[in-house]
Structures are given as C-alpha cells and as structure tokens.
Amino acid sequence: MKRIITATVQDRAGVLNRITGMLYKRQFNIESISVGGSEVKGISKMTFVVEVSDDQKLEQLTKQLNKQIDVLKVSDITDKAMVARELALIKVASNAHLSAEIQGVIAPFRASVIDVSKDSLTIQVTGKPDKVDALINLLGTYGIKELARTGTTAFLRGQQPHVTEISSFSV
C-alpha cells in the first residue's frame, strides 16, 4: 500500500543522508522524497511517498523515522484531509502543426507551456500525482523527450473533518 508520510526535521548537515540511509538499511521502498524549508528557520519539511506491504511495516517505518535524533515529528497523513501536490516538467516532441493540438490537450489540466523550440514544447503541470500521471500518459502519444518530477509534497488541510466524516470510499 502506498502511504504519504511527512516529517519535520532539524536542518543539520547530513540529515537527508541519515534518513535515506535508514530507509535503505531497513529495506523500505521510497517512491518519492521531497525536502525543503518550512515556516520555521532551521526546520525542514520532508514528504515521503512509500510503498509498504502491511501495517506492521508501516508502523516500523514511522517508529524508525521518529527514532532519528534530528527528526522532530512524523505523521502518516494518507488517510487525513490533506493537500498533496507535485510538479512535473515535460518536454514533448512538437512542431508547428502539432503545437495547437498539444495546447488543447493540456488545457483541461491547467498546465502551461513554459518553453518552445523548433521541435519541442516544455510543459509545466502541478497537481495531485494521479493528475500528473494522466497528463504524462496523454502526452506520451506525441513522444516525451524529457521528463522531470519533483515528487509529492503534502500537508494537512487547515480544517480536519470530524472523525465520523472520514469515509474510505471515493469516486
């Protein structure tokens, strides 16, 4: 199962190495990891998307993260009300004829063209990872020359619904 875990950490030399080293040593499978500053100076925020086999493994993961001395707080926000976003840059093969068609494809995704050359377009898209996946899929027919994704970054929404309102069904 895929889980989104966030961690606030002390911004010290080697902290990323400590954490990725631990994940490697304990055989956890990281799908993406994003790191950056937070609202507090000296504190960084990390977002991991991980694939774990069961609850016991998941518990181990959060405990091992918590055990790190530089880690201040660990949350598994997968089942919470949250916002999770990713940015992707996609360079697609294009020409004068195709350009308009591609623009049409990306419009519903609210993606934008940020670079144009004779034989390519570079598109920037932000959104939930599945939206990014969907656009990448669609653009695949034109030929993707280069692709870079930031990995997911996420946090909780300003307001959490009452516990009873959290439903496990979705459309």
Partner: protein, 572 residues
C-alpha cells in the same frame, strides 16, 4: 584579592581546541581513555601530555582493541566507554567495535581526528568520510565545524550515548579545530528537541499487563539486557519472586536474574535449555523485559510462542512489534515499568501445574556433555572455571562455541559480570573487552574465555595487560579450529570442513611470554583444577592454553530455520 586575580587570569587564558576537549572530558568525569595517536589527533595527544588530566590513557596496539576495551569498560561500569583515534585508517579500524556497540546497545563516545575543515572532501592524506561511514552504525554522530560548538557537542554526545537505549556516538574533530586558539568560554547548554526518550510507562498499559497476568495460566518472563542497562535486577527479582514467575534470559540478559535461582530456567534461544525454549513455546503469556526478539533467540518466527499473548517492555519503541507482533506494548525504562508492576494489585491465578512442568523439564533435560578420551571436555572446563572463581568472576567472550559453553555453564548471579558480543558476534572481542572490564572493575577477577581463532584476531593487546599489570586471566578454549564453523559444517554441510580447521597455530605460551605475560598449557583434565586455582590466585595476567577435544559440539540446538520447539541434542 589573589583569588580574583587568578580568576581574571584564567578567563583570559588562551587555550587550544584540544585543551578545551581535555577540559570537557575531565568535566564529564572520564577516568579512562582508550586510544591510539596519529597525525590528525597530534594536537589532542599534545594537550593530554601537557595537561595533568586525571584520566588514564590506555594505548592499544590496534584501534579495534581500543574500542572493544571501551565496550568492556562500558558493560561493566555502566558509564560511557571513551575512545580516541586518528583520522582515516585510525577511524576505520574502529568500525567493527562501533557496530558491535550499536548492536548490543553499549554506550560509547568515540572521538576521531579528521583532516582540517578546509581540505575535507579533497581526498586529503588520511581522510575518510567517517560521518558517512558511521551514520548507519551509530546512535548519532557529529563533525565539529566550529570550535565554539565543541564543548556542547561533547556534552550532547555523552548524554545521547548513556540515556534512553544506550549506543555509540562518534565525534569527528578536524585538526584545525583542535589547533585553534581561543580564550572564550563557550556555551555548553544543549537542546535536543528530537531526542526525549520515554522512561515512564503509560499507566493504562501497565493495567493491561497486570490484567493479562491475572488471567495467565502459563506465564513466562524473558529478561534481556535492558534490565541491566536500567539497573533493574533487584526489581526484577522482587517481581518474579512475588508471583513465582518462571523466567529465562537472552544471551545478553544473563546476570539480570540470579542464574542459580530455582525459578530460572536457563538461557533461551538457539543453544538455550530445553526447559527455557519449551517454556516459551508453551506459555500463554510471554513478558519480554528489555530484549529485542533477536533471531538467535526466536528461531523460526512462526513457531515462536504460538499460544502466548506477548507483552513487551522496551525503552526503544521501534523494537516493539519489529519481529514479533505484540499484544501489550509498554514503552518504558525496565526499572520504571517493574516498579509500576510491583505497585499494581495483581490477582494472580494459581499456576502450580505450569511451574511443576517447567521444573520437571529442567530436571529431565539438563545441559549435558561427554568426556572425551583425550584432551579436555570444554564444557567441563567451563564448569571448573565457574567453580574455582566461585561464580563471581567477570567473564568475557568472543563468539562461537566457547561463548555458548560459557553462557550455558557459568551461572551469573550478579548483573554486569557477563561481557559478550551478542548481536554482531565479533571474533576478537573478548580479550580486549576483558582489558576494559578489568580497568573498570580493578578489584574483580576477570576471566576472558576465548577461542584459539578469536584470540589471534586481537592477541597483540597482550602488550596492555603486561604494561599495566592487569591481572586478566585468558582461558583459551583451544580446539585448533573455528569450532562453530566446524560444527555447522559437520551438521549442515556433510562434514566438508572448508577452511575451518587450522593446520597451524602459534605456541600460545611463547606468544604470551614474548609479551612478558605468564603462559600455561593444560592438556589433561587432571591438571585443570590446580592450574586454574593457581592462575586465578596469581596477581598478574596469565594466558592459559586449554587443549579441548575438537569434535565437541554445542547442544542442545535449534537448527537454522527451525522452530523453538524443534531442538536437537537435548539428551545425551
């Protein structure tokens, strides 16, 4: 007036970073430093030479010896073992010992020299990325970037190493930092918001555990080294005796409960007793106090305590549920948890039949051995070591057959007298660990039980016991082979003894004598008692080369992959 002048003078005193380090170590109460000099730590050794620091420096002959000695010291005293080595090869020679300390939760503070900050990352002479190398094998590590950070880092290092679940901390000190001059007093207050070990148990969990005990018909206690680290032996004994609970130990937990107490079933695990292992298998409530369910204890996880509710008291939350799913987790210091349990009203149902069954197993399936026609029986030899030392020695070992025999036949009645490499299983650990143990407990008899293989890995530390006249008794259980490797090849590899039997060994007597240490060889059982008595009474180091029968195997045994109830060799 004079006093004031003196104060003013010392406030302006310009000292080096190395001097500051020595001062901080003295403030931390360090009495013994295990080290080896080299280029990047020259300023520190110079500061030590110039200072009248009240600690001893123990010069090993290889850095691995320093770190194992520090482990032995830590294990016996409960204080942090302190190590100092130079950059590059000095630091990398420590890796085995640091990993060993990490696996067995021993508090160490390890100082390594480093090339100057300006050249870190340029592959400078004797540079190694010791931060990168030691990150996965330490509880925490530091590289000192600014002199002003040094005193705080040293304090933090001791705090982290010795609190919570203990472990090794590395402090890497670039040469420019130890050379830098300063007259300032630096901040030593520390703030570790991400490190606050939970020591007090959650009262609700204690209630759950008490309720579980109130329903248990076949309760069993499994006590590990966590009991030793939290100095909870007295509370454990009181608790166990109050409810007459059968109890077993992990290898590292030996001594946390008196080995001669009738409620003690012997050690559990791969070479544990039948009574202990079957006790775990059949129990309906297993209370683990300060052990981590290591695979050498559990055997095949599917068959481990299949009918038991499992309670697990551990100061490290990450150990709970790691290997064995736990019904009643208690994150706490063992002593605090036991105190709370002692304060709880537990209406324990009668479990006489269970106790009797375990006692019956104990009587029916004792540890056994055979007497060889030639040379010594190693198990009998260990029994003699136990008898002649009145069960009061500090015993250190490496890993392998001799280790298991010592664990089986030496009944530790007191805590912190058993120094062995459990998790990492390090050959070459026992002898230097004995040196550290003897320095930590100068008035105790320290017996280092080692194999002929392991002893050769760190035998050069004979220099230290001669130099310091440390009365360590080295008992080499010499079967001219790597006994446990040989045993596994016999049992699981159709007797293909690949590289496990030595074609040559040194003359250990001459080896000892070449260092100035007394050496004795024993190859007849008739000579054992008198020789050991004489050696143990001798006020100085002795190496005793005991020739034991090579074909002897360690039994009983849970073969790899088998369940805890599928033991072989339970009877003669």
């Amino acid at each position: 007036m004079k006093v004031e002048n003196h104060a003013a003078e010392s406030a302006n005193k310009t000292i080096t970073g190395a001097d500051l380090l020595i001062e901080t170590l003295v403030e931390a109460g360090v009495d013994t430093l295990f080290g080896y000099p080299g280029g990047a730590v020259l300023p520190i050794y110079d500061a030590m030479y110039r200072s009248d620091a009240p600690f001893k420096h123990i010069l090993s002959r290889h850095e691995q010896g320093s770190v194992h000695a520090a482990e032995g010291y830590a294990r016996v005293t409960g204080k942090a073992g302190v190590v100092l080595a130079t950059s590059g090869p000095g630091a990398t020679n420590l890796i085995t010992g640091i990993t060993d300390a990490m696996m067995d939760s021993l508090p160490l503070v390890v100082f390594t020299g480093q090339v100057a900050n300006q050249v870190i990352g340029t592959d400078a002479f004797q540079e190694s990325d010791i931060m990168g190398i030691t990150t996965p094998i330490t509880k925490y590590n530091y590289q000192v970037k600014k002199l002003s950070d040094l005193p705080r880092i040293v304090k933090e290092a001791f705090h982290i190493a010795t609190t919570g679940r203990p472990g090794p901390v590395v402090v890497d000190i670039p040469k420019n930092i130890s050379q830098e001059l300063s007259a300032e007093k630096f901040e030593t207050e520390f703030h570790l918001p991400g490190y606050q070990p939970t020591t007090k148990p959650n009262p609700l969990q204690i209630v759950k555990l008490a309720e579980a005990l109130g329903r248990a018909k076949k309760p069993l206690i499994l006590a590990g080294a966590g009991v030793l680290f939290s100095e909870a032996s007295a509370e454990l004994k009181e608790f166990v005796e109050k409810y007459e609970l059968p109890i077993t130990n992990t290898l590292l937990g030996l001594g946390s409960f008196p080995g001669t107490n009738p409620l003690f079933l012997g050690m559990a695990g791969m070479h544990g007793t039948y009574a202990a292992n079957m006790g775990i298998y059949e129990s309906d409530l297993l209370i683990n106090i300060g052990a981590r369910f290591d695979d050498r204890l559990t055997g095949n996880l599917e068959h481990f305590a299949p009918n038991a509710r499992v309670a697990h008291i551990d100061i490290d939350p990450a150990e709970i549920g790691k290997n064995i799913s736990t019904d009643i987790p208690v994150v706490a210091d063992a002593k605090e948890a036991l105190k709370e349990l002692l304060n709880s009203e537990i209406d324990m149902p009668e479990h006489q039949a269970w106790k009797e069954k375990l006692q019956q197993n104990k009587k029916e399936y004792p540890l056994w051995y055979e007497s060889p026609s030639d040379l010594l029986s190693p198990q009998w030899l260990l029994e003699q070591v136990y008898q002649i030392s009145n069960g009061e020695a500090i015993v250190t070992t490496d890993v392998g057959q001799h280790q298991m025999w010592a664990a089986q036949f030496y009944n530790f009645d007191k805590p912190n007298r058993w120094v062995t490499s459990g998790g990492l299983g390090t050959m070459g650990f026992g002898f230097p660990a004995a040196i550290g143990a003897q320095l930590g407990a100068p008035d105790d008899l320290v017996v280092s039980v080692v194999g002929d293989g392991g002893f050769q890995m760190t035998a050069h530390e004979l220099s230290i016991i001669y130099e310091r006249n440390l009365p360590v008794k080295v008992v080499i259980v010499n079967n001219n082979a790597l006994g446990m490797v040989r045993q596994w090849q016999e049992s699981f590899y159709d007797k293909r003894y690949s590289e496990s039997v030595f074609s040559t060994n040194p003359d250990f007597i001459k080896l000892a004598e070449s260092y100035g240490v007394r050496g004795i060889k024993i190859d007849r059982e008739d000579d054992v008692v008198s020789t050991l008595k004489d050696a143990f009474a001798y006020n100085g180091p002795v190496v005793i080369d005991c020739r034991v029968a090579q074909e002897t195997c360690v039994y009983p045994m849970i073969a790899p992959g088998k369940g805890i109830h599928e033991m072989i060799g339970v009877k003669k």
